[in-house]
């Protein structure tokens, strides 16, 4: 009797699956015992603790070696270890870059929950950046570390070009967050160029893209970090105002060797203000940009909100809705699989139609926000490019510096400064 009732409950629970217990359980006479299978489960808690401990430890090592010791060697070791452990061994997920999307979704959608490790992977590098600058980028991030390790020569791109390409991470970040909060998909994860390399397999297109990026990074420093990484964009905000910073050797002799060595063009040469245009003109320009800033934001919002409808087609439910609409308008004998399953699960066209309306509204709203943000980013970049600053010595651009410590090896003064200390030890 119990057997039947449990079968009934099973049947009740699983009205969706085709059939349950069409055949009764056999009564074995030969004393047959059901085999027991154990499905091994990796102990995630141990790995989580290990990952987080290593994350903190490695960032600590980088901070210590770069800010305290002014040496690069430990950073290289950290990079090698990080590529091996976080990259090839742990195969990349979850990473701080991807965690942006989870956190953004959680901030917007109260029904979304995430494990502790995701939050910590997102927030710990930010906190470290706030303290010591971008020590995460230096060698703890396997993506940055991999590029750094293969980099042999640094051919510098034209400076104006790098400045413009620096806009991409911001735009990418804005779109990634937009796609995440609408639950359309995690585009950062999908278009991660190095994950395929770490996993030794995956989408061919992305592997080829990753390979090309790696080849590029042999000849120029960190193309992904500089021109694509959305997390780097976030960190650059925090590193601007970090408590302890990477500093040039105090007894700088303006030899420009560090400037040439920097893989991310973070060292600015001294610049005397040889005024080529009147001060009034410069001020006027800044004022114009400031006045146009809101206009740019509004214009961006307007432009992108017009695309909201089309962009919403990227969402799974909208695709389903389109299929349903086509089917309603011209009923087909063979439904697309998705639609068949949707109707099979008791969904109705009306639900879908309502869902599509809310989605479309959501997309319109988020597209407007994204547009205004893109407008702001462009406007603020223009304003920052209109500011004139004079520098007597070489200076580090805190936002761009990734604390890799490459410059130490090139600085003639650093060797002199550090060596006595080393000898003491």
């Amino acid at each position: 009797m119990r057997k039947y009732s449990s079968a009934l409950i099973l049947l009740f629970c699983s009205f969706l699956s085709h059939a349950q217990n069409r055949f009764p359980k056999p009564d074995f006479e030969s004393g047959y015992q059901y085999p027991t299978f154990r499905y091994p489960v990796p102990d995630e808690t141990v790995w989580m603790v290990a990952d987080l401990a290593l994350l903190v430890l490695l960032m600590g090592i980088v901070a210590w070696s770069v800010i305290r010791k002014r040496r690069r060697a430990p950073v290289v070791l950290v990079s090698v270890f990080s590529v091996g452990y976080f990259g090839f061994f742990r195969t990349g997920c979850v990473c701080s870059i991807g965690a942006i999307q989870n956190v953004a979704l959680a901030l917007v959608d109260t029904s979304y929950t995430m494990p502790l490790v995701v939050v910590l992977f997102f927030i710990l590098p930010i906190l470290f950046t706030l303290m010591f600058g971008r020590v995460f980028c230096a060698g703890v991030c396997p993506l940055g570390a991999l590029q750094e390790l293969v980099n042999v020569k640094h051919y510098r791109l034209s400076k104006p070009l790098t400045l413009v390409l620096g806009l991409i991470p911001w735009i990418y970040l804005i779109f990634a967050i937009g796609f995440a909060v609408t639950r359309t998909g995690f585009i950062i994860c999908r278009f991660d160029p190095f994950i395929g390399i770490f996993r030794l397999g995956g989408d061919l297109g992305m592997i080829v893209f990753g390979g090309l990026l790696l080849i590029t990074s042999v000849f120029t420093g960190r193309p992904f970090c500089r021109f694509l990484c959305p997390y780097g964009a976030i960190l650059s905000l925090f590193s601007r105002v970090s408590v302890w910073k990477m500093r040039l050797t105090p007894s700088c002799i303006n030899c420009e060797l560090c400037h040439n060595a920097c893989p991310v063009d973070a060292i600015r040469p001294p610049y005397g203000n040889k005024v080529k245009e009147s001060r009034v003109q410069g001020v006027k320009r800044i004022l114009t940009y400031l006045i146009f800033l809101p206009a740019m934001a509004v214009g961006g919002a307007f432009l992108l909100s017009m695309t909201g409808d089309s962009v919403s087609r990227a969402h799974k439910d909208m695709q389903l809705y389109d299929m349903a609409v086509q089917n309603e308008a011209l009923p087909q004998n063979v439904l697309p699989l998705e639609l068949e399953v949707f109707y099979g699960q008791g969904g109705t066209f009306e639900d879908l139609s309502l869902r599509s309306e809310t989605l479309r509204a959501d997309f319109g709203r988020y597209a407007a926000i994204a547009g205004s943000l893109v407008g702001l980013v462009v406007g603020l970049t223009l304003i920052s490019l209109s500011l004139k600053r004079t520098r007597a010595t070489y200076e580090i651009d805190d936002a761009a510096c990734v604390n890799c410590g490459k410059c130490f090896n090139y600085c003639p003064q650093n060797r002199i400064n550090v060596k006595p200390e080393n000898k003491k030890q």
């Binding site: 055949f23 059901y34 489960v41 995630e44 901030l107 927030i123 989408d203 799974k316």
Partner: protein, 191 residues
């Protein structure tokens, strides 16, 4: 003299601004983490990808869309649900004429199902996971004609735990979701 003081002022103003920035950034970071921590799911942290066996439609996309060369989705057999049929809908193709192990009669394209005689009229079926490629042909047959004891599931030791599962993206029935630590496997015979 005056000029120097002005310069000093400038520097200190810069410093002051920077401090303000630090404080603002710190506050922002703490605020974001505060909100993020409230969205934590500590106890039932959803972490492993699993297929809801009751929603699965055996469409075969698990085989082709996993990021791994051979999918992390495999067929699992719930012996306690199985009817031990001689004419097994998962083991044999439809319209099978002879119940033998000849290739023209078998549903599994890789021969990953082992069939063993138990007693008349019962046969035991076992999955050889090293051969299974997660195509779901057997699961489809078993669910259409049998008890549904063969079903697809994500094997934890193979799954990379991608932040965004690529199979979940294309799953037509939305059967793939995250489950908690405690229930690392959604097994049919444990329900």
């Amino acid at each position: 003299m005056k000029q120097e003081q002005e310069k000093n002022n400038l520097i200190s103003r810069k410093k002051f601004l920077r401090m303000c920035g630090t404080v603002a950034a710190g506050t922002a970071a703490v605020a974001v983490s505060g909100v993020a921590f409230r969205r934590l799911a500590l106890r039932d942290a959803s972490c492993f990808w699993q297929i809801d066996p009751h929603k699965c439609t055996f469409c075969g996309r698990c085989e082709t869309h996993c990021v791994l060369p051979i999918s992390a989705v495999k067929c699992i057999h719930a012996n306690r649900v199985c009817g031990y049929c001689d004419l097994c809908g998962g083991y044999y193709r439809n319209n099978v004429k002879e119940l033998n192990t000849a290739a023209e009669n078998l549903a599994c394209p890789t021969g990953a199902i082992r069939r063993e005689y138990v007693e008349d009229p019962y046969f035991e079926y076992t999955i050889d996971e090293s051969l299974c490629n997660g195509c779901g042909k057997c699961a489809k047959g078993c669910n259409s004609f049998g008890n549904g004891s063969l079903y697809l599931q994500v094997k934890q030791e193979l799954c990379k735990g991608c932040n965004a599962c690529q199979i979940a993206d294309v799953c037509p029935s939305g059967a793939i979701g995250r489950v908690a630590y405690a229930t690392a496997y959604r097994l049919k015979d444990e329900e």
